[in-house]
Symmetry: C2
Subunit: 195 residues, 2 copies
DNA sequence: AGATATCTATCTATTGATAGATAGATAAAG
DNA sequence: CTTTATCTATCTATCAATAGATAGATATCT
């Protein structure tokens, strides 16, 4: 687990926000210099190249994403509630104009290095796998319909999240995202709960 | 309906492909010069600025998209088959590494002018509206379940297309996209046909 | 002649990146 | 303990390449 000092962390923070709001190719080292208050040469001291910076940003994001999902699994007993929390988390970021980093870098994948492209593949595989496990658990739990194919439903859920965030930002309609995803979860449920 | 001469058309073609493969901020006027074989000054002769070029590319795309959907409505009698054809069309482009132009420019929307951002909103609204109408027709037709909410299903379908294309490109798995979307259509159908 | 289309040549600003200096912390040697 | 050496983190200054854009000459067609 790579660990960064204060400056590098701030650089990663700003870079992540810039990527998630404007995109990888739409921000410069000078933008970072302005935001963080260190010279561009200092950025290169920590991250040799721009693709290296993106790689580090994504590595940290991926790790936090894994950690967040693990904690969710431990802290929240019901599968339905776990998925709902994921939706709210994504929806919160979408509301701030912050697209999923995985989705954003997918758009810019041609500008990234091979290692980061590989990490992107693993990101989606891991996310889908977590959702699939959660849905399977929900089935065994009596929360979700027995007819559900967890893998299929998980792929759909993740793709819906990514596409939904994209369109949410374009529409600027603060209800679009949750109105899109929550009914989808509800449709999987045996007893259409809440909403 | 704006009409372009041969050079401008080639410029629009190349720009569209570049945007859909690499992204708006990842290509330059020099790339276009190389591909089309005219000087960058000639590009500026037709399109004053880069955002103007993007606007023209998207306007043409949007128009062809509308036309394509209209023709589909006229040529294909069954709603199910219309949606399936849309999926194959998107899937074909995804297979070529060509993301949906609407989705791609959504990622880069911060770099576009206000008019193009507005056109993006209208693009998704129109697409969703067409899908919704198609689903409503399919319901009246006895193809789709009566319980379906056409608007809700249409939003889901479009978001699934966009998210699916994004992830498809990352995975490089030629089956991912259609394996994702076709079951979704099938699930709407009264009589789970084909596949 | 005028309109249309393309080129040459060039501009300014910005890009990611590098070289080398410097101050301060840390460690090793005497 | 002090001195010497090395390492860490940052800076200044600058590079070559490229970005989008412009002015004005030139050719072609009506």
């Amino acid at each position: 687990m790579t660990t960064w000092n204060a400056t590098a962390s701030k650089l990663l923070d700003s870079a992540e926000t810039l990527i998630r709001t404007k995109g990888y190719n739409a921000f410069s080292f000078r933008d970072l210099q302005r935001e963080v208050g260190v010279k561009t040469s200092t950025i290169h001291y920590y991250f040799a190249t721009k693709p290296d910076l993106a790689a580090a940003v994504f590595e940290r994001f991926f790790q936090e994403h894994r950690l967040g999902l693990d904690q969710l699994t431990m802290a929240v007993p019901r599968a339905y509630d776990r998925l709902e929390k994921v939706v709210h988390f994504f929806g919160h970021n979408a509301g701030l104009g912050r697209f999923c980093l995985g989705g954003m870098l997918s758009s810019d994948r041609e500008s990234l290095d091979e290692a980061t492209r590989g990490a992107l593949v693993r990101f989606f595989a891991h996310f889908e796998s977590w959702v699939s496990t959660t849905i399977a658990y929900g089935k065994s739990n009596g929360e979700f319909k027995d007819s559900l194919d967890p893998d299929q439903a998980a792929r759909t859920f993740v793709a819906l999240l990514e596409g939904g965030m994209l369109i949410h930002r374009v529409k600027g309609d603060s209800h679009y995202f949750s109105d899109l995803i929550l009914p989808f979860i509800d449709q999987m449920a045996l007893i259409p709960s809440k909403i």
